[in-house]
């Protein structure tokens, strides 16, 4: 019995989109939610800080610090999202490699 390499490659090719769907789309959904949450946080911080400044609960320096905090938060969130994207790509790559190895191994057993 000969081994049908094109069938093997076709089988692997058919499984990759589903793998991408589970590995990468979860990340995209999470990143979208995180972005919306960040915007809500910034809006709330600016409103609260402004009100606290008007009511003399905080000083101008405090308000300035809090704005710096929001700026830092935007940068750090961007770094987190970039890192999580890279981790997703690494996980996808590993999953593809595992799929190829297991498919090839199964064919050898036949």
């Amino acid at each position: 019995m000969s081994i049908d390499i094109s069938a093997l490659l076709s089988e692997i090719g058919n499984k990759i989109p589903a793998l991408a769907q589970t590995s990468l789309s979860g990340y995209i959904d999470a990143a979208t939610t995180d972005g919306q949450r960040l915007l809500a946080t910034l809006k709330s911080d600016i409103e609260t800080g402004t009100q606290d400044l008007i009511e003399n609960k905080i000083t101008k320096d405090d308000f300035s610090d809090l704005l710096l905090g929001d700026k830092d938060l935007v940068q750090m969130t961007a770094l987190t999202e970039a890192g999580l994207a890279l981790a997703s790509v690494d996980a996808f790559r590993t999953a593809v490699l595992n799929l190829v190895v297991s498919s090839v191994t199964d064919f050898i057993k036949i």
Binding site: G49, D62, G69, L73
Partner: protein
């Protein structure tokens, strides 16, 4: 006989392909980002608690009297930065710590305000404690989102 020869050739091709893929997995597919590190994760959580507590005490303890606590927290922060910097493929986490350490950033600016005002108002202390918590949460989230090593 000829059929058997073809089968052997195919088998060799498959085995060679497999070996090629394994080689790629070891040498070609270098991870894009470092793997999860339990020590880094635990240290980030510990730092979050320490920094939040430090900010909270700024409404009741004068800056001059809190210098020892500030120095201790700053040393822990510096250690965490150096640990992050020493790990390979870990530039994003290192940059996050660099933001916390920056003289132009929120944390150092808040310390200067504390020094300038002696103590902060309770509202300010509470808001700044929350903010430093949000910043540390990003470091924790990134570390926790890294892929775990498979045994």
């Amino acid at each position: 006989m000829r059929c058997k020869s073809n089968k052997t050739k195919n088998l060799f091709f498959v085995i060679k392909s497999l070996l090629f893929l394994i080689t790629i997995s070891f040498f070609g597919c270098k991870p894009l980002i470092s793997l999860y590190d339990q020590y880094a994760y635990t240290e980030a959580i510990s730092l979050k608690v320490d920094m939040q507590n430090l900010m909270l005490e700024s409404d009741s303890i004068k800056y001059a009297d809190a210098k020892l606590d500030i120095s201790r927290v700053n040393t822990e922060l510096q250690k965490a930065y150096e640990y992050a910097k020493g790990r390979s493929n870990n530039s994003l986490s290192t940059k996050q710590y660099a933001i916390l350490l920056s003289e132009d950033g929120f944390y150092k600016s808040s310390l200067r305000t504390w020094q300038k005002q002696d103590t902060l108002s309770s509202t300010s202390a509470s808001l700044k404690s929350d903010k430093i918590g949000q910043l540390l949460d990003q470091i924790i989230k990134l570390e926790n989102g890294k892929n775990k090593a498979s045994n």
